[in-house]
């Protein structure tokens, strides 16, 4: 009886996973078909474009391409964690973008100091992630103490962070040699490359480890239990002796650290600049891409890894689409957008529906 019913439970679980998988495959097909139609109407050959995209992102002929894909995947994997932790706590934290800027700024601040070589890396990670966590905490405190909606506050904080960091780039930490960027991380503070001649560094491994730490935190630690309970049913969490406000603050802090790591790893582990470039161009957008990655990965840390690599491949492949298939950058961006949109939409709809149901106080 017992084993039979547990088997039944496993079957139910398996069925759910299969359904998810079918959904994802269907979404990928829909995205590629629609984007392909668009390219066709624009006068380009979609088959050739997709072939070029694959060739320059996931093909094993040259490790350079895979390295490119994974180095694009690194920051979005981390910022996706920010969003995912938020969702688990019942929050819609879209502040990874700004928190990531702050993390990068922290690393640049450390780069500007004169330190014994081995201290650069640990200090860059500590200062960067603390600064990012503090930035996330602002939105958290606003929410918990004043009831400010985190969607609004994090969007605003993203732009505040943008201009603070941009100001710091120009006036506080300008590079004395190259005016288009900040002071670079000195060589002892740079993460070693995994493959020579590529952009892929140890930061990718740091990102993967962070994903597993967050997974462990959410599913195997008390705080994660409390975060998930709060996110799924704050009333029951309160009944269960959990302080939902405290839990939410932790979710903001941990999310901020993850986004901060993304910023720090761009400064310490991404050639060639090892610095913040004009208009934050080497950072801009990774925070928002993380939202898509998280949604595609079902807001689950372990789902985020393949999702980030997928998005990384789209980014890396965009170069091949331009050079080999002759698709202009604008069209490439639109193709990426459509594919991401098709993949992220089911998750986003589910999320919004759940929030609306909760606001009306109804359980389905």
């Amino acid at each position: 009886m017992g084993s039979l019913s547990s088997l039944k439970g496993k079957l139910v679980l398996l069925k759910g996973t299969l359904e998810k998988l079918v959904e994802i495959i269907f979404a990928i097909i829909v995205g590629f078909v629609i984007a392909g139609l668009m390219m066709y109407m624009g006068g380009f050959d979609p088959i050739k474009a997709y072939a070029a995209m694959f060739e320059t992102s996931l093909s094993l002929t040259d490790p350079y391409y895979i390295a490119m894909t994974l180095s694009f995947a690194t920051p979005v994997m981390l910022t996706a964690l920010t969003f995912a932790i938020g969702v688990r706590a019942g929050l819609f934290n879209i502040g990874a973008e700004g928190q990531m800027y702050m993390g990068a700024l922290g690393a640049v601040i450390v780069a500007s100091w004169t330190l014994p070589g081995p201290l650069y890396l640990p200090l860059a990670f500590i200062v960067g992630s603390l600064l990012a966590a503090a930035w996330g905490l602002i939105a958290g405190l606003l929410k918990v103490l004043r009831g400010v909606n985190e969607v609004v506050s994090t969007i605003m904080l993203n732009w505040i962070a943008f201009w603070i960091v941009e100001y710091a780039r120009v006036y506080v930490y300008p590079n004395p040699i190259d005016a288009s960027k900040t002071i670079s991380m000195p060589p002892p503070g740079r993460l070693p490359l995994l493959i020579r001649g590529t952009e892929l560094s140890v930061s990718f491994i740091i990102a993967i480890i962070t994903v597993f730490i967050v997974y462990y935190l959410l599913w195997h630690m008390v705080l994660g239990y409390e975060i998930r309970a709060t996110g799924l049913n704050p009333t029951a969490a309160r009944y269960g002796g959990i302080n939902p406000k405290k839990t939410m603050l932790w979710a903001f802090i941990i999310g901020g650290i993850a986004a901060g790591l993304a910023g720090v790893s761009e400064i310490t582990g991404r050639p060639p600049s090892y610095a913040i470039t004009t208009g934050l161009s080497n950072l801009f957008g990774y925070g928002f891409d993380g939202i898509a990655v998280s949604l595609i990965g079902a807001n689950h840390p372990l789902g985020i890894i393949p999702a980030a690599i997928f998005i990384g491949a789209l980014s890396a492949g965009s170069r091949g689409m331009q050079t080999t298939a002759g698709v202009p950058l604008e069209m490439v961006k639109a193709v990426q957008g459509i594919i991401v949109w098709a993949l992220a939409m089911p998750g986003l709809i589910r999320l919004i529906r759940r929030r609306m149901i909760r606001r009306r106080g109804v359980e389905l």
Binding site: V12, V222, E226, R228, N233, A237, R238, E363
Partner: protein, 516 residues
């Protein structure tokens, strides 16, 4: 058979809900034109179901409805509205961000919108409201008037009010009754759903009393006495008796002193309640739902702010202490809503089995990690001991049936080895077997020397289980007594708002009561 002045005639109405609950078992209901007709009954008597059928919100399983002598089949509320039937619900259906005027005209085609007509209507009915004020800024009583006006503007002449006085202050109630009498003078027919005896006696012309889906009687209000109505409302055959030994109460474990608590709407939900629960006894709180019981329980269990007064647990003042601290002291709380409060439905059975005790040393390791092995063993123990049917400890709580969900909550709460158990509606919605099971456990807990506070809207349950019982009405205790010392009539009277002091010697001295 209906006569000429019959405006509503419902014949042999049966309603079985999709989940098998029988709400109405063949009800005949008749309302005369131009009367205020009371519909009286306890929770679950079927009052609201019957009126939802009349107003087109529900369809009867069988039975016939005649309006002004003509047979009707309503498919929706708007069809009933065309026949002049409108219902004002307990929870008002107004848009808070809109003005009163906007709410009244909401959904009407442009050509019938006429502000002058609304103003005239306000004049003739005496329903004065600030038309241009936003609804969210208005007190509940005014909102209700807007809702009534909205109905009248849609030419409703059979107005159904579902427990309209629940959220009103005494003055607002008086004004409402004035309005109702006024409307009656203008020829409107009003059906008034309530459980409050005083209000029935004050404002209605005739009363239909429902009990468990059946009509118990129809009486002219002028010929009715509170005792008679109370007995009709409550009197019932007891389904089964539970055997229990006499209680051996010990020390007072939970003491509540002059407790004042607010409702979500801001009014007083609990008004100076005092009592003590002793170890080894079950102290019951009876009463029609919505009379402050939920707020009282929440205040005692740390989930709602106490504005005034004290909660003392084992000699320590725990007023406004967080739940986690109360749990550590030995409080168990079986909440009234297992799905909203008691469980996180999307978490697993194992995860739910430790909710509230998840920080115990047994369940967490040095790294603040969850010891899943121990938690799973704990969950399995609860499943075994309480005979819970579950696909496994890793199945989501949502996949369990209602009865098994409740057993999981009860099992978890009792696994805390509590000193005090606060059980709110512990058997609501459960089948007979599960109900009996949980009741027996509560008695066992009592026999083991624990203090049990039982709050239930199920009168049978409170009276059978409790060693002492308090009857709550509008945030106050109408009296505390041993269940066997109370007659059905007395209980019904207290549930309907009469204080126990007023009831003394009711049989010998009826005048005292009538004078009050």
């Amino acid at each position: 058979m209906p006569r000429n002045d019959t405006i509503v005639y419902m014949k042999d109405i049966v309603k079985v809900y999709p989940d098998g609950t029988v709400a109405l078992r063949g009800v005949d209901f008749e309302v005369k034109k131009g009367e205020i007709h009371g519909l009286l009954g306890e929770n679950g008597a079927g009052k609201t179901t019957l009126m939802k059928i009349l107003s087109g919100l529900l369809r009867p399983t069988s039975g016939e409805i005649y309006i002004r002598g003509r047979k009707v089949h309503f498919k929706s509320a708007s069809e009933a509205l065309k026949h002049g039937i409108g219902m004002v619900h307990q929870h008002l259906a107004l848009v808070p961000a809109f003005t009163a005027y906007e709410n009244i005209i909401l959904g009407l085609p442009g050509k019938v919108i006429d502000r002058k007509k609304i103003e005239e209507l306000m004049e003739t009915t005496g329903l004065k409201i600030p038309l241009d004020a936003k609804v969210e800024d208005l007190p509940f009583g005014v909102r209700q008037r807007i809702e009534i006006l909205k109905m009248l503007y849609r030419n409703v002449d059979i107005l159904i009010l579902d427990e309209p006085t629940t959220n009103l202050t005494p003055i607002e109630t008086k004004e409402l009754f004035e309005t109702l009498r006024n409307l009656k003078k203008q020829g409107k027919t009003i059906i008034f759903i309530t459980h409050k005896l005083r209000e029935v006696l004050e404002v209605t012309d005739r009363v239909t009393v429902l009990r468990r889906g059946r009509v118990v009687g129809v009486v002219e209000t002028s010929k009715a006495t509170p005792e008679m109505l109370a007995k009709m409302m409550v009197g019932r055959e007891v389904v089964f008796r539970i055997e229990k030994k006499p209680a051996r109460p010990g020390e007072p474990v939970l003491v509540v002193k002059d407790l004042w608590v607010r409702s979500d709407l801001g009014g007083w939900a609990v008004k100076g309640v005092s009592f003590a629960v002793y170890s080894g006894e079950i102290f019951g709180i009876a009463g029609v739902e919505g009379n402050g019981q939920s707020e009282l329980v929440e205040a005692i269990t740390g989930l709602r702010r106490v504005e005034k007064g004290q909660v003392i647990l084992m000699g320590r003042d725990v007023t406004n202490k967080p739940p986690s601290e109360l749990y550590r002291m030995g409080l168990s709380h079986i909440p009234e809503d297992r799905q909203k409060l008691g469980l996180v439905l999307d978490m697993t059975v194992a995860e739910n089995s430790v909710l509230g005790i998840h920080r115990l040393k047994k369940f967490i390791g040095k790294l603040l990690n969850m010891k899943w092995k121990n938690i799973n063993v704990h969950a399995k123990k609860i499943i075994e001991r309480f005979e819970i049917v579950a696909p496994g400890v890793r199945a989501p709580a949502r996949s369990l049936s209602g009865g098994n969900q409740q057993k999981l909550v009860v099992g978890r709460e009792l696994s805390k080895t509590p000193v005090v158990i606060v059980a709110a509606q512990p058997t609501r919605g459960l089948d007979v077997a599960a109900t009996e099971y949980i009741r027996k456990i509560l008695i066992k807990m009592r026999d083991e020397g624990k203090a049990v506070l039982l709050v239930s809207a199920d009168l049978d349950e409170v009276l059978q289980l409790s060693d002492r019982v308090a009857i709550m009405y509008e945030g106050e205790f109408m009296g505390i007594a041993k269940p066997e010392e109370l007659t059905e009539e007395q209980i019904g009277l207290m549930m309907g708002g009469y204080h126990m002091d007023q009831l003394k010697n009711t049989s010998s001295n009826r005048k005292v009561l009538e004078a009050s």
